[in-house]
Each structure stands twice: as structure tokens, then as C-alpha cells.
Symmetry: C2
């Protein structure tokens, strides 16, 4: 369990508190009062947090969310369900989906180190 540096902690806190994915420049503007002044500081913290599996990047949105699983620090495989109406993003339990995908990969003779899966549709509220 790695301990976070000052900037990493600041960036992680704001992502972790947020109910929605945050963009890098939104994070920046929210942490300027804490002394983080420039994009590279944010992006460096984001990179490390991703490496550690504490946060994930939603590629289709260029936005970042805190990990809602416990095992992503190991597998780095991620899966999300994204509402096209309200933009809500939910992380899908790693173990559940991994079983299906490793199953598929095995039958297809495919190997992989990680994956990212994004489902799009309507959440329960918006349906």
C-alpha cells in the first residue's frame, strides 16, 4: 500500500470526492487554491495514480474517476458503464467481467495484459 505524495493526495482527494468523472483542467482549477498551479503538476499526479490503480481514465471522455473496486491495483483491467443521457459512470466489478473476457481470450487464442471496456446506454434513472 503505497503512500501518496502531497500533490498526488490533493489530486486523488478531489477525484475521490467527486460524484462524476473529472477532467484534468477541472481538477486544476479546483486545486489551485492548494498550490497546484500548472497542468504538468496535475497530469503527473494523474499518471502516478493511474499506475497505482487508484484512479482510472475514462478514455471516451478524457476524464478521471476513483477506482470503485479493490483489485484494479493488480489487474489494471477496467470496465465501465456510461449513461449517454446523464453521463453517469459506474465501474463494473472487475472479477465479474474478467471471467468473461479471459474466457473469450482463451478460446480466441488471444493474450493480453490489460483491457479497457466502456459500455454505453442509459442508466436506471434515465431509462
Amino acid at each position: 500500500m503505497q503512500t501518496l505524495t502531497r500533490n498526488q493526495q490533493i489530486v486523488f482527494d478531489i477525484i475521490n470526492k467527486s460524484s462524476e468523472p473529472l477532467k484534468a483542467y477541472t481538477i486544476l482549477s479546483n486545486v489551485q487554491k492548494k498550490g497546484i498551479k500548472a497542468p504538468p503538476q496535475v497530469y503527473r499526479a494523474l499518471d502516478k495514480l493511474i499506475e497505482m490503480g487508484k484512479i482510472h481514465k475514462i478514455e471516451s471522455k478524457n476524464a478521471f474517476v476513483a477506482c470503485q473496486n479493490s483489485s484494479c491495483n493488480v489487474s489494471k483491467a477496467t470496465a465501465f458503464s456510461i449513461c449517454e443521457s446523464c453521463e453517469e459512470v459506474t465501474e463494473i466489478s472487475n472479477s465479474k467481467i474478467s471471467k468473461y473476457l479471459s474466457n473469450f481470450a482463451e478460446k480466441a487464442g488471444m493474450e493480453y495484459k490489460k483491457y479497457n471496456l466502456e459500455f454505453f446506454g442509459l442508466c436506471k434513472k434515465c431509462k
Copy 2:
């Protein structure tokens, strides 16, 4: 089977001929001799081609590839295998993977309209 407009055809041709995913500005610089001069012209063509399912965006790379399946125009669900060494991108047959994912979704009580899946690893050459 929708027919392409002039700009759409030009942009599609260059993506389709390419052996690797192309970035928007790479496309732009390659079509300037054909009269496409500015980013919006490229991005508009890309948007339409994606809608039609003729090309896909590799989200993790901000790059575009021609569809290698036949059914993407219907489902808009996409899956790729990406080599982390040589950057090779292969589209995974839609029907194969879809079975697994719809299976998963059903058991999880989840609904979706489309998805995007990107596997990362090493291709056969790089392994």
C-alpha cells in the same frame, strides 16, 4: 449502403489504405493536396464515417481505423487488440466478442446500446 460525399470519400480512402491507425492531423496533412485544408473538414468527415460504421476511433490513441468487420454499421459495438510494442491494432470480430458481452450483461441485469473494448498486450510478432 450509403454513398459517401467527396470529403468523406477522401478521408475514408486514406484511412482505409493505411496499415495503421491514423490521427486526425496526420490525415489532414495527407489530404491537403486534395483540397481539404482545415481541421473541421477532417473532423466532420470522421464523425460521419464513424456514424456509418465505416471507421472506428481508437480512444486510447486518438486515432482512426477502417472497420474490418461487416456488421459494425449495425451494432456500433467495437473491440480491438492493441500491441503495446509496435502499436499494431486489430479489430476483433464483432460476433465473437458480442456473444460474451451480451451474456455478461444479461446475467448482470445490464443494458447497453454499444460498447468499446480495447485489449492491450503484445502481438504475435512482438511476443
